[in-house]
Each structure stands twice: as C-alpha cells, then as structure tokens.
Symmetry: C2
Subunit: 342 residues, 2 copies
C-alpha cells in the first residue's frame, strides 16, 4: 500500500513549481514550454501520478458527476435507461453515481442528501412524487434536475423527458378497438403517477373516439413493485362481463400479469387480446409473439443527459424544457378479433 505522489512530488522531481505541473494537467490554462511539458509528463508517468479528483473539485466543483436516481435497476426498462445514460455520460467525460429509491420517499430523501453533499452538477431521476422541498432546494443550488419517465405536476419548473404516454395508450387502445373489441381493459401504474394518469387518459380518449362505453371496472391500477399486477388481472377475469382485450401499461407488472393469465389458462389472443408496454427481446419469443409498445429508451437517455448538463455548460436557466418522444406500436400476434360470445 504505497502512498500516492502529489502534485508537489511531481513538481520537485521535475524541478519546476506546482503551478507549472497544474498547467500541464490542464492544457489551455496557461503557457508551458514544450520541453518543460514533456519533462513533467515524463515524471508524472514514472511516478505514476494521478491527480485527485476530490482536490480538483474543491476549488470550483466542475460538472464531472451526474446523479442517476432510479426506482430500481432490476426493472429492464430502468436498466436499459441506466445503460444508455452511463454511455452517453461517459462519451462526454462525465461519471454517473447510481442510486435507487425502491419507490420509497424516505430513501429518496436520503439519496438526495448525499447528492447535495457531493454537489453533483445534475440529477436525472424518476421521482417518487414527494420530497418537493428538497427538489426545489436542489434547483436553488443550481443543480440541473431532470425528471425522466415521470414528472411531478407540482414542480413545473423542472425539465422533463418522457414518452408520449397519452398517445401511446391511445394508439394501443385504438388498435384493439379497430379489431372489434368493445370490452377493453387497461392495467396501468398508480393514479398518483403522471405516467399512470396519462396512459389512462389516452385509453379513455381512444374509447371515446371509437364510440365505446367506458367502464371504470375495466381500469386497474397496479403498484410499481410487488404482485399487484397479478391481482389486478384476477379481478378483471372475475368480472361478470370480462374484457376481451387488455392493455398492460404498467411496464413493471407485465410479467406478473402474463403469469396470472398463463395460470388461469387464458389463451392469447383467442380469449384475450393483449398489448404490453415492454420491449424485452422475450416478448417476441412468446407464444404468440406479443404486440408491444416500444419505448425509445436511447432517446430518453440522450435527452436526459443533455438537459442534465445543459446549465452546467453555461446555458442560462431559462424556462424548463419538456421533451416528449414518441413510442412505437409494434404489431405482432397477440391481437385478434374477439370471439363471439356464446
């Protein structure tokens, strides 16, 4: 366990002052003679010198770290988002601190405290919906906050990057209606989430446009975590007049819903047409291949990183940006015309 050389060690070994070494370290911060530069570089090499980030950040905390605060990373949607965010950040020389909330306010608040203490330049988050004061404080401090996938209406000043949830649910529902379905159900995220609300709104729009009756019994919310999706599915199956088609708009609950369907022996699409919000490669391998709503995760990531770094890069804090990217409806084989009732 050798202790690391400092900038002064390098300066001494190269026979120059620390200022010169610093200039070699930060090209453009001042003139250095070519000969000196190469000598210093050489010394750094032989000494195995690496400047300490902590010390650098002390002077003027440079935008070198981003906080990525997600519900969890076991959900493939968030996993791919994390992957893309990390890649995008790396390509700009930025590091990513990954944190998870498990959808828990308290944990979220703790994570935010650490991010404050680290003085990260930006935060990309899927907010739980609470901790309003902390989010505000973060912005006051000049941190670039970007909400991705969801938003908090009570915080209109925050940049937001989401897919066009209303439109996605609308087109999925419309496709089912076009196939002749009249009893179309939706399982969505909790109504407390903007995601859930928007998708249900789109669903309603589609029903209305198709001239179909709305039945609140066909609208089910399922929490992001746990087995809520399965229970919602069971409830739908037990309805007096059960649905002939279903949109599973809560990404986190897709497999739980399908498991329940398999368990109940419901065949897709003969007994139930299904469209899911989920872009796993597995959806195509199912029997039958599932019709899906594909969310352009790479775009979400790219825009999020861009916004999270925007202010730090000097762009004055103007009005908040809202980016809404379109999802893609991929038709496969889980949607068919409804069977006539016996």
């Amino acid at each position: 366990m050798q202790k690391q050389p400092t900038i002064r060690d390098v300066a001494a070994a190269a026979g120059v002052s620390v200022a010169v070494v610093s200039r070699v370290l930060n090209p453009g911060s001042g003139p250095v003679a070519a000969a000196t530069r190469s000598r210093v570089s050489e010394v750094m090499e032989t000494l195995g010198y690496h400047p300490r980030t902590a010390a650098r950040e002390l002077k003027h905390g440079p935008p070198t770290t981003l906080g990525l605060l997600l519900a969890d990373v076991s959900n493939p949607f968030f996993a791919r988002l994390a992957d893309q965010v990390v890649q995008e950040a790396h390509s700009r020389g930025i590091q990513v601190l990954l944190m998870t909330t498990q959808e828990d306010d308290q944990l979220e608040s703790e994570r935010l405290s650490t991010l404050i203490e680290r003085r990260v330049s930006g935060i990309i988050a899927t907010p739980t919906g609470n901790n309003l004061e902390i989010w505000k404080k973060l912005q006051d401090m000049g941190t670039d906050v970007v909400f991705v996938d969801r938003s908090i209406p009570a915080l209109p000043a925050v940049d937001v990057v989401t897919i066009n949830n209303t439109e996605s649910a609308r087109s999925a529902t419309a496709l089912l209606a076009a196939h002749g379905h009249r009893r179309i159900a939706i399982i969505s995220g909790p109504a407390s989430s903007t995601t859930g609300r928007d998708r249900i709104a789109g669903y309603r729009e589609a029903l209305e446009a198709a001239g179909l009756d709305q039945d609140d019994l066909l609208i089910r919310s399922a929490a992001f975590r746990g087995a809520a999706g399965g229970d919602a599915m069971t409830a739908l199956l037990n309805l007096e007049d059960p649905p002939t088609a279903l949109v599973v708009a809560n990404t986190a609950q897709v497999t739980a819903v399908l498991r329940r369907l398999a368990h109940a022996g419901i065949s897709i699409p003969d007994e139930l047409s299904v469209i899911v919000f989920e872009d796993s490669p597995w959806t195509e391998l199912m029997t039958p291949p599932l019709t899906i709503v594909r969310q352009p995760i790479d775009l979400l990531a790219r825009h999020s990183v861009r916004l999270a770094l925007a202010n730090a890069n000097g762009k004055a804090a103007g009005k908040p940006t809202v980016v809404r990217v379109d999802a893609e409806l991929v038709e496969r084989s889980s949607v068919a015309r409804p069977k006539l009732r016996v």
Copy 2:
C-alpha cells in the same frame, strides 16, 4: 443560484469555532456540550448547510465510494447485479459509481483511470481480461479489487466472487444425459473468459461421467455481445448429426439462440431439449416453460460488496478470497427424452 454556506458560515452564525461545528458533524470525534450541539444543529438547519463531500475526502479519503465496472447494464444479469450491489452499498452508507466497458479493453482502461483519480476505496468489476498492469497498480494503491462473475487467472491476488460455473454446467448436462440424450451441445461464452472455460469443463465432466462421446463440434463459443449466439445455433442445426439437447451457458446470448430456434421452427422439447443459464421471469412464461440454471445474484452482490469494503474496514490484506456460490437447477418443461431417430 445561491452559493452554499460553508462550515465557517455556520460557525460564525452559531458563535463558535469551526472545530466545534466539525465535531457536531462527526459525532465521536470530540466532546461538544449538549446545548452547543443543538444550537449548532439548529443553525445548520436554518442555513441549509450541507458539508461538501469533496472537502471531507481531501483529508483522509474515507471509503465512501465504490466503483462498479460492468460490461453493460442492458444485460439483465448485470442489471440485477447492479441493483443488488447498489442496495447493499447503500445499506452501508456507501455510494456507487457505475461504469461500463462494453467489453472493450480501451474503455476499461479509461474507466479505471477515472476510478484511480477518484481514489475509490473499492472496485467491483467484470474484467475484460486485459489491462493487467492497471489492476496491479490499483491493488498497490490499496484499492480493494473484487472480480465478480469472471476472473483473470494471471491475477491470482484478486478477490473473486463467482457462481460455481463448472458444477452448474455439469449438473445441467448431467440432467440432459439422464434423460437419455447422447448428442448434447453447449453454447458458452468465449474460451478466453474463465466463465466460458469453466462451464465447458463442467460440460465435459458430465459427458465423461455419463460415458458419452465428446464431439468438439457440439461445443460453440459465442461472444458476449452481438448476434454470435444465433450463428452458433445455426451452425449446430446444420450439423450432419445435430444435437438433441442443448445447454445455453452464455447468458448474454440466450434470447438470440431462442430466436434462431423459433425461426427455424424447432420445437422444444420435442426436437430439442434446452436448458438456459438465465433467470428472467420470462423463462417461465415461455411455451414450454424453460428449465433454467438460476444464478444467486443477490449472493454475488452481497459477497462482492463485503469484500470490496473489507480492507477499507481495517481488515489487513491477507490472501485473496475466492467465493464460489452454487447456482440452482430449476426443472421446468423444456427437457424431455429424445425422439428416436427415423
């Protein structure tokens, strides 16, 4: 954009010295009168004071950050690993810097440089297999390096946490042999990876134990990224004497292989029995539900974090620890007796 209060602002406002404030900040570092403590705490609250991590780390870089260097996070195996590592780290008050290599030496080397500059206390990584000198240097510096899922034989001094790959592949192969299969194929990771090598070794052991002939044509390696798995599958199907059973031991290529099978119209398990190394909830939803090897990701994560923090917590650097956890063979319906050849 208000500028943040410092410890001196707090000290001034509370009418005490910075030393006292620091002691309030770090309980146990020295005595503070109860009255003073509460007054200072109050001032910190009203001023909205948050100590800067960068400044704290400057004195004695405390073990507050872990580097997690994975191939990528879009792979569900790594995603869940990341999720568990983050949770485990958080429960100990440690933050996680997430980085990805895309299996690229060059990128790995760059990531490691940033981790060195940050003086992270520990690194959990799935190494590409190169950059030996950097890994060594990291250890010299006293960084706790833990390889997870894979290892580098040329670096025997590093802690390693993996599943028991040999045994996992052995038992999967043995199950197929027990069902009467004599032509059993395996698609595994590249032979350059310990994971790939160990699994093939286990496969061979099982064949030998069952008294079956070994045919190198039945052993296929597929790179971790890209479509290599599909090509390997095609090659197997085109064999003069194609296999009746298959172990897909390269987690990253499972869906690619299955896609090729679906495309070729091969029915499972009638024409081909299949066991995959993969624990996605989707495997159970397939037709038929797949027999899988389940890797105890939570254990991998827990041990990794423990080891990555071990030395930092004062435990002298002894001999390297190797943790090998057992995977679980979950029998479902993708394995059957082979059909008699016509």
